[in-house]
């Protein structure tokens, strides 16, 4: 493989700087990955595979499990128990831990707001130039805990729906 072919394979039109000339410092260490490839065709191919699989899954599911449509909305019915969609299960379940009018505002609005603000502030809460999840254990543990709590809440909601269909 000639240099030109190598550059082409790695997605560079111009020849890369010879590696021994470049002095790697704290500032430029993350400028360029060790190994690169051209966006086309390498990444485009992989993206295409995933997109095709998703499209096939959607097509198959739309006949195997058609999109649900319950009876027409009846504004007069009072005993209908609505279910949120599955991605709101954890939120609905979380509200169960804040019963009564005193706490519901806290559970429904205050905690999600704090969470979203923390999400926005994340890049400034964790600023050290360390990237590996192993080398920043605090952030990793917090992230795993959040995912764990969300999944557990979803499981609780599902088990509640199965065990008490009418509530």
């Amino acid at each position: 493989m000639t240099d030109v072919q190598k550059d082409f394979a790695q997605g560079r039109a111009a020849p890369a700087k010879p590696k021994d000339e470049e002095v790697i410092t704290e500032e430029n260490v993350f400028d360029r990955p060790d190994e690169t490839m051209g966006f086309f065709p390498g990444q485009v191919y992989k993206d295409g595979v995933v997109a095709t699989l998703l499209l096939i899954a959607c097509t198959v599911l739309s006949y195997a499990a058609p999109a649900p449509l319950a009876g027409p909305a009846d504004t007069a019915s009072v005993d209908y128990v609505p279910r949120p969609e599955w991605f709101f299960f954890f939120y609905e379940q979380m509200l169960m831990f804040f019963p009564g009018y005193a706490l519901i505002a806290f559970g429904a609005v205050a905690i999600p707001t704090v969470f979203i603000v923390l999400l926005f502030a994340l890049p400034w809460l964790d600023r050290a130039p360390v990237y590996s999840p192993v080398r920043r254990p605090f952030v990793t543990i917090v992230g795993v805990l959040v995912i764990f709590v969300v999944l557990m809440n979803m499981l609780l909601a599902v088990s509640r729906i199965i065990n008490f269909p009418g509530q």
């Binding site: 060790d34 690169t36 992230g143």
Partner: protein
């Protein structure tokens, strides 16, 4: 004959490409766009972002097709959805793809976020892209919430009633949020019209430019990937720093040595001899 056809086709293609390049510069842009170097090792992990984009594109396309039949009034909304599901050509497929790709979208966004979070890809200089991503997440949640009511069936209706009720508990802004969403005192025709406008016009119009910013910033800073994309460079950096540390150490040792020498020189003998040299 075939050879002449082939060369003619190639020449025509080249002529068209040159013509477009002269007028718009699109060929150069396309080359720049397609041959961008991207990290190689974790390439399958980075398909999550493009999968999100693909699913949102599906949402736009199937959403437009659903609008051909859907009627956003309380009298006809449910009937039109029923018609889509049972009568319209490929109606079940179009609504099915809209429904299932929305479900996949939420899951894939979660995975994409987790990948970004655990690899630390949100760090400088990519903070703004993380923020744009959180905005996109909130917009998608808004779309998921407003889409549920549009079926005007029992599930969507009562779930939205509960959702709006939860919104009314917001401190200070609760009544305003409720009034903005309801357009009245109860969930009714005005609410359906508003949810339709929000789901079909407001949020898609907001999400499109944010997707543009997200992609622009991605290309500006390049895909970060994860630390394992930089293993060789990091080890080279550490090696260099270690070597410099040794050199520093040797240098300090030398200085110490000289210092000792000078102390010895107080004795006088070596000092004079060196002067002599």
């Amino acid at each position: 004959m075939i050879g002449r056809l082939r060369s003619q086709t190639i020449e025509t293609g080249k002529f068209l490409a040159d013509w477009m390049e002269d007028r718009t510069g699109v060929v150069t842009q396309l080359e720049h766009f397609l041959y961008e170097p991207v990290p190689k090792r974790g390439a399958w992990l980075y398909t999550l972002g493009s999968a999100t984009l693909f699913l949102i594109t599906l949402q736009f396309l199937t959403g437009i097709l659903l609008l051909f039949y859907y009627v956003p009034t309380t009298d006809h909304a449910w009937n039109s959805v029923y018609y889509i599901m049972n009568e319209a050509y490929f109606g079940q497929l179009i609504r099915g793809i809209h429904y299932w790709s929305a479900n996949f979208l939420l899951a894939v966004i979660g995975l994409h976020m987790a990948r970004t979070f655990f690899t630390g890809s949100y760090k400088a200089p990519r903070e703004i892209n993380w923020i744009v991503g959180v905005v996109l997440l909130l917009l998608v949640i808004g779309l998921a919430f407003t889409g549920y009511l549009l079926r005007w069936d029992q599930d969507g209706f009562w779930a939205s009633v509960v959702g709006i009720k939860i919104g009314s508990y917001s401190p200070f802004i609760g009544p305003y949020v409720t009034h903005f969403l309801l357009g009245g005192d109860v969930v009714g025709p005005a609410t359906l019209a508003r949810f339709f406008a929000i789901h079909v016009w407001l949020l898609p119009a907001m999400i499109a430019p944010f997707i543009g910013i997200h992609l622009y910033l991605l290309r500006k800073h390049g895909e970060f990937g994860a630390e394992f994309e930089y293993t060789d460079r990091i080890s080279k950096l550490h090696e260099r720093q270690r070597e410099e540390g040794y050199r520093q150490h040797e240098f300090e040792d030398d200085e110490e040595y000289d210092y000792d020498d000078e102390l010895d020189d107080e004795g006088g003998t070596t000092h004079h001899r060196r002067d002599g040299e």
